[in-house]
């Protein structure tokens, strides 16, 4: 074999090897070991079927006599939906060397449901784990004597608390909404059952994560419930339980933890609601009652706990947790037609945001506590102007951080509750954070997140398992 033949053989061999390598390279899939992550790998169940519940079936009276008082805190965020008490009762601005005057304490099932107060009676929704029942408890405000309970059997499990809504009270009625969306209407004084509505069954609504957080609304003799599911919102006659109108929900927007806020703008009264899917305004009266006046799907987050803050000039502020942040929108009206324009929408570290509590609007400014993902300002009480919620007017500073607890204003003082049951008194200001005093009210307190209620100088607050009444009168 001469050298030419050897070169030929080697050349052919190299050519064949190159060709084989080329085809192997073409066909090789570098991602062949990758695993496709698809939904369903967790073997999620089909969800629980709505339980057969006989709403209002259970009642027990324990006492009849109580001291009638003059003031009320009739619902979530109080009489005017602003979380500001207009009572002339003078309250302490510090605890001095004394311990807080705790009038009574009651143990409740794990939850975050706040109280409503009506002329000396306190109403609070509870879940009794032993009895497996949703229970509305009625206490005497002054001494904590339990007057009566009304409820119904329901099987639920702990899920970061169970009850988390506040009843709505009028002279005649009590309206509650339980963890699994059971609406119960009672006579206020006697606790007699009037009517019930199983929202999840009737409207095929999806119960929100960690159970219902929407506080029901009584407005002009109507129960207003944002149902999600087959209807977005419904109005029910308080006296008869008859449905007055239903808002269609073709987009399938879901119920959130946010509550419905009445708002009058451009001569129309409407109900503003932040559903999972959109922020909407629904006509409250007139021929088009129940129809959507305006909507924006720009505000679409999987968990919304805070309620819309409706400012008189047409601005609406929204915030939510779990990375959602905040949004400022402006409503305009033209010949009875409404449109909403988004002014700004931002991440939680970029401006005022809140995970659970609805910010306060006071003296032309918004106040709120930033969430844990709020960047360097996390957990600080902050003040912004609604023209630009991304610019801090002031923050409480890194030495004054709070949790997910409530804050409100009464007698010109701001009361703030920390997760561990520490109550702060601050002077509301648009210039700086002014702390006046603080005191630990609930020993070993945890998850003290329920909104406050106050009447006649008696403050009702709670942590996950204890409700406390404090006398704040001077």
């Amino acid at each position: 074999m001469d050298s030419k033949q050897i070169i030929k053989i080697v050349s052919y061999s190299l050519g064949i090897i190159s060709l084989v390598f080329f085809f192997w390279w073409l066909n090789a899939n570098p991602t062949r070991d990758f695993e496709i992550l698809e939904e369903g790998a967790d073997n999620r169940g089909a969800g629980l079927e709505a339980q057969e519940v006989e709403i209002g079936e259970y009642f027990e009276q324990f006492a009849t006599g109580y001291t009638e008082l003059s003031e009320t805190w009739p619902r979530f965020r109080g009489e005017d939906f602003d979380n500001i008490s207009k009572s002339p009762v003078k309250l302490i601005d510090n605890f001095g060397n004394d311990s807080p005057r705790i009038l009574w304490t009651k143990e409740l099932g794990e939850g975050h449901s706040g109280a409503a107060i009506y002329e000396g009676l306190v109403y609070i929704l509870d879940y009794n784990e032993e009895e497996r029942a949703d229970i509305l408890r009625c206490y005497s405000l002054l001494d904590g004597k339990e007057m009566w309970v009304r409820g119904y059997n329901l099987n639920i499990k702990r899920n970061h608390g169970m009850s988390r809504t506040i009843p709505a009270i009028t002279e005649d009625y009590i309206l509650t909404m339980g963890p699994m969306c059971h609406v119960m209407c009672l006579d206020r004084e006697t606790g007699d059952f009037l009517w019930g509505l199983d929202v999840a069954r009737e409207y095929e609504s999806e119960v929100p994560l960690w159970y219902t957080g929407q506080c029901p609304l009584i407005d002009e003799g109507k129960a207003i419930i944002a149902t999600g599911g087959n209807a977005l919102m419904v109005a029910v006659d308080m006296e008869t339980g008859e449905k007055l109108w239903e808002t269609p929900n073709p987009e399938g927007w879901k119920m959130s933890h946010s509550s419905v806020m009445p708002y009058t703008f451009g001569g129309r009264k409407m109900y503003v609601y932040s559903a999972i899917g959109a922020l909407v305004g629904i006509a409250s009266d007139g021929d088009d009652a129940g129809e959507i006046l305006w909507q924006t799907t720009v505000w679409n987050h999987s968990v919304v706990a805070a309620s819309p803050v409706c400012i008189p000039d047409g601005k609406i502020f929204m915030t939510a947790g779990y990375g959602a942040g905040g949004m400022l929108a402006e409503l305009t009206e033209n010949n009875g037609n409404y449109s909403i324009e988004i002014i700004t929408k931002y991440a939680p570290r970029e401006g005022l945001a809140s995970e659970q509590q609805t910010p306060l609007y006071w003296n032309g400014h918004l106040f709120g506590i930033l969430p844990k993902d709020g960047g360097p300002g996390r957990n600080q009480l902050v003040c912004v102007h609604p023209d630009n919620p991304q610019e801090m007017v002031w923050t409480s500073g890194s030495e004054n951080r709070f949790g997910l607890g409530p804050y409100f204003i009464a007698d010109g003082k701001m009361f703030i509750l920390n997760d561990d049951g520490t109550l702060f008194i601050a002077r509301p200001s648009t210039e700086r954070y002014i702390e006046m005093d603080k005191v630990k009210v609930i020993e070993n307190g945890h998850d003290a997140w329920a909104p406050f209620a106050i009447a006649n100088g008696y403050l009702i607050m709670r942590d996950a398992t204890n409700v406390v009444c404090i006398d704040l009168n001077i």
């Binding site: 698809e38 790998a41 629980l48 899920n159 968990v303 990375g323 844990k372 993902d373």
Partner: protein, 192 residues
Amino acid sequence: MENNSKSKNRREFIQSGVRLSLALALGGVGGLALSKVIEDDWVWQIDPFECTQCGRCATDCVMSPSAVKCVHAYDLCGYCDLCGGYLKPDANALSTAAENQLCPTAAIERKFIEEPYFEYHIIEDLCIGCAKCVKGCTSFGNGSLHLQIIHDICLNCNECSIARVCPSDAIKRVPASEAYKVKGDFTNNPES
């Protein structure tokens, strides 16, 4: 007789000296061995309450992937459907689909237990210690997911390269007998 006695004494003296030396040597070796046994070594560990989830544990460890891994304190976990450590903030859906998962290496396994509970399990081999899940869990949950240095991976460098860059000084030397600072009372991490 006197010479004989002197000679005997000398022998006895040498014998006693040898015995004493042997006893001292044995005692010394035994003492040294005992001190080795009872002496506590020092290892590096993260204080989960100081950790700010900056992400440097994933990038600055001499090991690749990092010796820092996420561990899960099951007794602190809320077993939530919407888990801030598993799902991206504002995820499209509460599902296991890749686009919803926060972990860049899919190192967290999600299992449905019963309504409404889900369990989350860390696949240690996939975890790179980036702390994204820890940040999510701390921000939105109970903080049951947290970082720990895993000692069968850690080289226990004299100068830990992540301790040098940790912005919150969360990495400290701890006695080897208490090598882990695990949150809660229970974890399924076998090393703890």
